[in-house]
Amino acid sequence: MSKLITCEEAVKKVKSGSRIMVGGFGLVGSPLSLIAALAQSEVKDLEIISNNLGEPGRGLGVLVRQKQVKKAIGSYFTSNPEVVKAYQDKELEVELLPQGTMSEAIRAGGAGLGGFYTPVSVGTKIAENKEERTLNGKKYVFQEPLKANFSLIKAKKADQLGNLIYNKSARNFNPMMATAADVVIAEVDEIVEVGQISPEEIVTPHLYVDYIVVKGGK
């Protein structure tokens, strides 16, 4: 019942048209080996939920360059000029969410909620087609939860069961994404024996993790 597989085995599970969450804030905390394996595969028409889309030719930027991405949901794509170009050429759809709304929507997806009201973006372009509601005298915007077919996340260490801990600011979106997809694949720097990570310290309990790959592995 080992969860350990290779990157190649991992990306074989992904079909064209899948909706995939990918962890990371820029390239920090991004599962780069899994992304590289995806870039080697034939899958296309992907819908990616990720804060950014990498950099030109790096991380998710490779998938954009290879036209494997149909739609992206995230908070900040401007840092990759190739994303801007693909959008202008109508090769890529983009849905923009404030970073806090996005991270909360992923959490809500994993937590089985039907949606929530956030005060963020009220009165802005982002909220134009969203339900607005006044609660206790304050205006809020309704946000639906986000879920996906797959989450590709990056952690520092996994134990053999799949309990995860992260590395400094590389934690970012990974713990929420671990909760919000049908299949969760974690890329880790290191796998340790069960019991090597303290129960108090575990950030992502193993029930959220379906498969583990080791960074740099094939």
Binding site: V84, Y87, L97, K168
Partner: protein, 220 residues
Amino acid sequence: MNVKQYIAARAAKELKDGDIVNLGIGIPTLVADYIPSDVKVFLHSENGILGVGPTPDPEHIDQNLVNAGKLPVTVLEGSSYFDSASSFAMIRGGHVSVSILGVLQIDAIGRIANWAVPGKSVLGVGGAMDLLEGSKKIIVTTMHTSNQGESKIVNELTYPITSERIVDLIITDLAVFAVKEDGLHLIELSPGVSLEEVQLKTDAPFLIAKSFNKGKEVTA
């Protein structure tokens, strides 16, 4: 000290001991260098850090430790790491004392635009709206005019608004304005700057505080 450093140093004077402070990209990032030594603040970075420290030497860069501008940072003793949902829960929940933000425009009642440019594809928003909505106090740091010489303090925003939230203080290279219910109040001129210059370069109307600081000295 160049003008951007001057603005940053002036903003740093607004910080109080114990404040939880989030610094935006650009001039706000410089504020960290000018915090008075007797004031201990804690820098929050929305990608999941409380207790950001100085920029590391090139040989001590840790790839897994960056700020919201994706630049390498360090952390101080007593710092903590958390996920993005927790980080923005802090921000939205009102647990950040002060955010210092850059802007594209400020309107006559103190609302800002700082995330999108008209006519261009809008492909990035980041955490700007969250910080503006949730922080207890908002300080804007900006050059008074754009590179094209246009006033950034305008009657009505022509850039997309970031939030209906009204900011608290505006610090430019020329002046400082407090934002109150009746609009912008000029409370301070930078050294060597005349009231006439500020009036000339400010499109929005503003009130002049009864006793404002003329050319207050700001040092690091």
